[in-house]
Amino acid sequence: MFVIKCPYCGERDQTEFSCHGEAHIARPDNPAEVSDEEWGEYLFFRNNPKGIHFERWTHDHGCRRWFNVMRDTVSDKIIRTYRMGDQKPGVQDV
C-alpha cells in the first residue's frame, strides 16, 4: 500500500485516496466538431504502460483535492505528485 504525498496536505496513507485513471486526457474543446473516432478515443482509450504512468488521484478523506501522480508501474514507486494545471513532468525531470 502506497504512501502518497498530497500536494496540499503532505504524505498520507493510500486508504485516504482514490485513483481515477490516466491523467492529461484533455476534453476536446469543441466536442461537436470532433469525429466519432476522436470522441471514442477520448471516451474509451487509455494507456496501460509498463513503466512511467501519469494518473489522477483525489484525497477523498482529506482535502478532497484532485492532483496528478507520476508512478512507475513496474516498481510501484511514486516518482512525483503535482497539482492540476502544473506542467506534466518529463522523464528527464526524474
Binding site: F2, P28, P31, Y42, L43, T58, R64, W66, M84
Partner: protein, 1001 residues
Amino acid sequence: MSNQNRTIFGGRIDRGQVINFVFNGKNYKGFHGDTLASALLANDVHLVGRSFKYHRARGILTAGSEEPNAIVQLGLGARTEPNMRATEIELYEGLEAASQNCWPSVNYDVGSLNNILSSIFPAGFYYKTFKWPPSLWLFYEHFIRKAAGLGYSPTAKNPDRYEQKFYYCDLTIVGGGISGLLSALAAGRSGCSVLLIDENPELGGYLLDYNFSINEKDGLKWIKNIVDELYSMDNVRILKRTTAMGYYDYNYLTALEKVTNHCDQLSKTTPRERYWRVRSKKIVLAQGAFERPLVFADNDRPGIMMASAGKKYLSRYGVLPGKSVVLFTNNDHAYQTAFEFNDKGAKISVIDTRENIDIRIQNKCEVLGIKLYSSFSIISTKGNKKVNQIEIQKVDRKQNELSGECITLDVDCILMSGGWNPAVQLFSQSRGKLKYDKVLNTFVPDKLIQDQIIIGCNNGCFDLSKNLNHSYQEGLNAAKDLNYEVADNINWKGEEEISFTESSVEPYMLGKKKVTKGSKHFIDFQNDVTAADIFLAQREGYISVEHTKRYTTTGMGTDQGKTSNVNALALMSHIHEKPVDEIGHTTFRPPFSPQTFGAIAGRSVDHLFDPERRTSIHKWHEENNAVFEDVGQWKRPYYFPKKNENIHDAVKRECLAVRNSLGMLDASTLGKIDLRGPDTAKFLNMIYTNAWSKLEIGSCRYGLMCNEHGMIFDDGVTTRLGDDHYHMTTTTGGAARVMSWLEEFLQTEWLDMEVFCTSVTEQWTVLSISGPNSRKFLQELTDIDLSKENFPFMKFREGKVCGIDSRVFRISFTGELSFEVNVPSRYGRFVWEQFMHHGKKYNITPYGTETMHVLRAEKGFIIVGQDTDGSVTPMDMNMDWIVSKKKQDFLGKRSFTRSDTLRSDRKKFVGLLVNDKKTVLPEGSHIVEKALKQPPMKMLGHVTSSYYSPILGHPIALAMIKNGMNLLGEKVEIPLMNGKVIEATISDTVFYDKEGNKNNE
C-alpha cells in the same frame, strides 16, 4: 503419575506455579512457562492429532510457529479456535484443548481406515474421482468435507473485543533473537524510534536453548542485559507475542499481537488481540530460520521431532521427550542436541548420512559413549501411536542406493535435522528475490527491493560472531541513514558449542529405489503429501512448481509449508536432475501465520461495520411504527403500518391519503449541494442537459445529468436562490457521486470557473407535504403567501414555518399540489410534530418510500437507478424535451450522435398494463413477443417498476421495450418464474392525471 518426562531441574519454567489443564477430556498438570506441547510431552502424551487425509497418528514435530502436526481445537463455546498450534499455546489455568480430525477419539479413529486404503487415495484423487457427473458434486462434497478437514469454527457470536493500531516509526525490527536485539540496541542507542516485534513470550530467540557466550560472557546473562537496556529506552517499543503477518509495498507491515490469549482471566478493558498496521522508514528482518525435516520412510510417527525442537523441550521446558533416542542428521549442528540428551540421562545413538564427520565430534561421541552410525540412513520406522523401532541401512554412495545389513534399533524418540531454512516468508512477500545456496541447500535472500535490511540466520548466515557484528553495524547504519547521531560501534565475539556453519550439510535424498513399498515418506505433514505424490505429479505432467503445489497440495496447509517447501523443491530437482534454482519456488503470501478475522475487522463490526445515516426525524419514525428501508447508508421509512395492516394495506391507505387530502414524507435524505460563484450558471449549463442561463432568482428547474457516454446518471431540482447562489438536489443514493462529479470537472477540466460546491444534505431537514389540502394546511402555519398567483409551481420562497426560518419549494414528485419545506435540521422533528398536530383535521398521513414510488409511477416520473441502469439516454426515456438543442456543449451531448445511441431499435421507456387487471408483475421480468415453452424467445425488454395503484384500482408497470414508442397499444407477454404467462398492453407512461392539472391547482 504426572510429568514423568520432566527433568529434575532445569528449564525456564516456574516449577512453583502448577497449572491445571484439560486435553481430550483428561486432566493434566503443567508449569507456568510451559506451552501446551511441552506440557503434553512432560505428561508423556505424544499422540495429539490425526492427519488431514490418511488420519495417521501424529505427534509434536516442532517447538514453534512452523508446527504442521500438533494443531488443536482450543477453548470452548463462542471462544473456541480451530487449528491452533500446541507449540505456541502458552499454558494457562483451566485451558481446554482437543485433537482435531478424529472420531470417535484420537486413539480409536475410524477415519484411519483411509491409511489402509491409501493406495487408492493418491494426489489428485478427488479431481480424478469426483469429476463426473457434475450434478453429483454437491452430494460428494458433503462427505468429502466431513471426512477431510481440521478444526471447526465457533457458531456463536464472538464475545471478545479486537483493536487496531496504526503506528509510525523509524525502524521496525521483526524478530527478537540476538540479531534483532543487537540491531534494536544499536538503533535505539543512536536515538531512532524502534519497534521490535517477536512472536514469542520471551525475547532471545533460539539461542535461549543453546550454550553460547558473547564477549566471553554467559549468553543468557548477556541477553538479559540487552533486553533490560532496550526496555529502559523511551524510543524503543517492544511487542512480544506479536507475529508480523504481512509485508507490503512502501514498508507497510501488519502484525498480530496476542494480548490476552495466554491469560486465564480475560479482562474487560483489554482486547483479546490487537492488529498493528505499521509504517516505518526502514524494516529490519531478523526472523531466523526453521529447521528442515529429513524425508524417510514413515517419518511422521509421534515421537519423531526436529532436533532443535528436542533441544528446546529439554533446555527451556525441562522435558525429556524420550529415554531411548536416535538423532538422524546430515549436519554437525544437531549434535548439540545429542550431547544434551546424553547429559540429561537419555540413551542416544546418532545416525549420520555423511561419510566424513568432524573428528572432534567423532571423539566426543566416543568419550560420551554415543554410538555413531556414519553414512547410515533410517529405512523404516514402526509403532502405531508412537515410534518404537527403526531399521537402518548403510548408504552406498557409488550406487546412490542403500545396501548391506539392516540393523534394528528400539527407540522411543527420533530427533531429525536436515539443516536450516532461513524464514524468508516476509522477505519474499516484500518482493525480495531469493537465490539457492548450494552449501546450505536452501533458498536465501538475494536482492532487496524495499528500504529494508535482512540480518542473521534470516539472511542465510549462521556464524554467531559475524551475525553479532553485522546486526549491530546495520542498526548503526540505519540510524546514520536516518540522520541520527550514531552510537559507537562495538566489536562482538560470539562462541557457540557447535555452529551450523562448521558443518558441511549434505543434501540427503532418497535412493534410486525411491520409496519402500508400504511406507510413506512425508514431505508435507499437514496436508499428507508424500514423496510418492511428488513423483506422481511429475509423471502426470504437473512439472511446474506451481502445478506440483496445487496438484499435490504441498505447502497449502495452515502452516503454508514452513517445514515442507524446500524438501518438495529438492525432490523435484532430484527427479528432474536439474538444479533447484531451475525448479524455482512458489510465491509466499500473507499472512505468515493463520490470523483471526476478528483482528482484521477490529472495531468495524455490528453497527460500526457500515454506519447508518438517520434523519433528524428518525426517532419519531421509530416511535410511530415505521418499517425501514436501506437507501445507501440511509435508513428511510418504507411505510407506516397501523394495527394489523400489512404492507399492501398501509401503502394503499397512504397513497389514497395523498391523492384525497394530505400526506407527508421525510425527504431529508435527498442530496443537497449549495453552489456559489459567478460562473455557476455557466457551470450548470455544462452539467445538466437543459438550459440554465435564464433561470430567474426564486425559480426551480428539473435537470438531468448525463455522463460523457450520454447516459443518465442523476436527476434533481435546482433552484436559483440569489445572483450567484444555487441550491441543487440529487437522488438520495447519488449525492456523494454527484458531488465528486462536480468537483472533478471544476478541479480538472474547467480550472478557471469560479464555483464553490458545499454539501448541505445534512444541514436541512426536508418535509414534503403533498395532496389537495396541502396549501390550505400549510398557509395556517407560515407567513409566506402560498396563493396560486404569488407562489406558482416551480417557485421558491423563504419565510417562517411554525416560527422557524425555512425555505419552501413548490415542486412535486407525486403529481399533487406539493410543498417541500426545508428547515434547519435541528428543528426537523419539531416542525414535523407541529405538522402532524395541526394536520389532524386534514387527516395528515405520514408516508414512506413505497408510497412515494407508487405515486410517482402513477405519474410516470422516473427513478434514476431503478428505471434507468446506466445504459439509457434521455431520449431512451422519451425525455427529449429536457435536452437542449441550442447549447453548443454539455457533458454527454457529443455521445448522443454516436452510432450506438442513434440506433432505432434501442429500448424505450413505456407503460405496461396487464390485461387481467390484477397481476402485479415482478420487477425485472422479461418481456417477450410470444411466450414459448422454452427459450429462445424473441426478447423485447424488461419491467423496471411495477405496483398496484390504489387510486386507479389496478396494477401499473413501467418498462424498457425495444422500439417501444412505436408499439403503443400492442400486446406483449411476460412469462413468470412459476410458469404462468401474463399478457399486457404497451401504453404511455402517465397513468394518472394525464393533463397534469393537479399540481397546478
